[in-house]
């Protein structure tokens, strides 16, 4: 099955076509891209077109779409989800909503894995995984609350992600190991978004929405 996958939950944009013969054609950002201003709208579709071209398949030969639904940057998630839905809908192919934390965890390569995505305002989105299995569901917390929120099952876990890099010193002070700063494991890789379609059932495209994990800031006036 030719799968198109992408993730826009962090400032970086990651795209991959996993061709039916198992070969992957990834457009992955450098880890440094995680700490530059996001440009998903400018980056996503050109990367999608590039991955499809490099895989030497046509748009018409895509058989499934997988998208990282967060948690992560709200605007980025909406660009990713809107794009994925439109492609799946227009082609009449299945859409798999994949947790961006699960995809990040899949790249960490250790178990347990503690994927941490920057939630802004001094907070982190996190979860604990052992392989594909979610041990602690996604949460949002301050860095110094991570050990408590991640729980005992996170003991000995390796943390990675833009949030892990940003709050490395706080995390390490709390006894959490983090991957080296320039490591590629901090990037949510679209290849892992593609691979996770095995464990995430497809949903009807219009029903797929980001996992914001946080309410919008809005105060009723009356």
């Amino acid at each position: 099955m030719n799968i198109l996958g992408f993730d826009t939950s962090t400032a970086a944009t990651s795209v991959c076509v996993l061709r039916s013969d198992g070969e992957a054609f990834a457009v992955d950002p450098e880890p440094a891209r995680l700490f530059e201003p996001p440009a998903h709208s400018r980056e996503l579709m050109p990367a999608v077109a590039a991955a499809i071209d490099r895989a030497a398949i046509g748009w018409g030969e895509l058989e499934a779409v997988a998208v990282g639904v967060g948690p992560g940057t709200f605007t980025g998630l909406r660009i990713g989800v809107a794009t994925a839905r439109a492609i799946a809908h227009a082609r009449g192919i299945p859409l798999h909503p994949v947790s961006s934390l699960a995809a990040l965890a899949a790249g960490i390569g250790e178990s347990p894995a503690l994927p941490l995505i920057d939630a802004k305002r001094g907070e982190l989105f996190g979860a604990v995984y052992s392989g594909d299995v979610e041990l602690t569901p996604a949460f949002v917390a301050h860095p110094d609350q991570i050990p408590a929120r991640a729980g005992e099952r996170a003991s000995g876990a390796l943390a990675a992600g833009d949030g892990a890099v940003r709050f490395r010193s706080v995390l390490e002070a709390a006894g959490i190991r983090t991957a080296p700063g320039d490591s590629e494991v901090h990037v949510v890789r679209a290849l892992n978004v593609c691979r996770l379609t095995h464990s995430v059932p497809a949903e009807s495209p219009e029903a797929v929405l980001p996992n914001y994990l946080r309410e919008p800031d809005a105060v009723p006036s009356q």
């Binding site: 709200f74 909406r78 492609i87």
Partner: protein, 330 residues
């Protein structure tokens, strides 16, 4: 046939329009009530709602047009100005829909859409013409020499006319969005009961509405809560009269200064009944032909985006893949 998408503020819109301006469908999913309890549009809530609605709204537009994506040969989308997070939902969907079918994509200036809304339908306006656009976000008079562009002759220096309606309505305790409520209440009041300022700044054609709401605030305070409540219809009528007077004065000055023969109105405030009545009388008096679009073409809608796309250069695949939305200028 054109499929157009518009998500610049709080209405999720899609439309199907033919190349010669026949509207096959014009679907508007309004979020008004969703934002009512906040007294204004909350950008993050609007963006989330757009994403929830957009696919269904596009399907609905295609279905009501009695067609499908196969018949569409061009996609148009509002690129700006507007709320960036809201715009990006429409831009992302439009780019993907166009790319999958390798259709051309037309990025449209939202304000251009308002200006050329009257080029749609059976009796399209033809340049040269002048246009008054008044909405919750914008108020300006523009000159259109050819339909592909417009020149702003004057604009508001502070609040937009629609903003003045909404803020005034709030001071009178009317529910959001206040424009239509104020219009309804004003019909029962005496427009001469209170004297509100008509601010016409400078020698040109600019507008200013921020002083008006302050005047209303003071008047309501001076009257006291009970009396202000009792005379709410008079306050609404007088306040609305002041807004419409300012708009009409500038419209008349623009027509006379430019020697215009054709005039159009657009934007959400163009749905106001007093403005519609009085601009009709003014244009009749000046022997100027007037275009007043249907209300569904005045408030934000995608048909007007399709209208503007007919006069805007299209981008071919893959040029538009890196297209970004723009909060300010399109």
């Amino acid at each position: 046939m054109i499929l157009a998408v518009e998500t610049s503020c709080d209405d999720t819109c899609a439309a199907v329009v033919t190349d010669d301006g026949e509207i096959r469908s014009n679907v508007i999913a309004s979020q008004g009530l969703l934002h009512a309890r906040y007294g204004g549009v909350v950008p993050e809530i609007a963006s989330r709602r757009h994403l929830e609605l957009i696919d269904a709204v596009i399907d609905d537009a295609l279905e009501r047009a009695g067609t499908g994506m196969d018949a569409i040969d061009r996609v148009a989308v509002t690129r700006g100005p507007g709320l960036i997070g809201a715009l990006l939902v429409g831009v992302s969907v439009a780019k993907a829909l166009a790319a999958v079918r390798r259709l051309p994509l037309v990025p449209v200036d939202h304000l251009h859409g308002h200006v050329v809304a009257s080029t749609l339908g059976d009796k399209p306006i033809e340049p040269p013409f002048l246009c008054l656009v008044a909405s919750g976000g914008h108020t300006f008079v523009a000159s259109v020499e050819d339909a592909g562009s417009y020149e702003v002759l004057g604009q508001t220096l502070d609040d937009a006319a629609g903003e003045a309606f909404d803020k005034g309505a709030r001071l009178l305790g009317l529910p959001y969005p206040g424009g239509p409520e104020m219009d309804r209440l004003a019909k029962q009041g005496d427009a001469a009961a209170f004297d509100f300022p008509r601010s016409l700044p400078g020698d040109g054609l600019d507008f200013s509405f921020s002083g008006l709401k302050t005047a209303l605030l003071y008047r309501v305070r001076d009257l006291g809560e009970e009396e202000a409540g009792r005379r709410r219809a008079d306050l609404a009528a007088s306040y609305q009269r002041a807004i419409v007077d300012s708009l009409l004065t500038r419209a008349r000055q623009a027509i006379e200064r430019e020697g215009a023969r054709r005039f159009a109105i657009g934007g959400g405030v163009a749905a106001n009944s007093e403005l519609r009545e009085r601009i009709t009388a003014t244009c009749a008096e000046l022997c100027v032909e007037l275009w007043v679009p249907d209300r569904s073409l005045c408030t934000d809608n995608a048909a007007m985006i399709a209208a503007a796309s007919r006069f805007t250069p299209a981008l071919d695949y893959p040029e538009y893949l890196s297209l970004d939305a723009s909060a300010r200028v399109a």
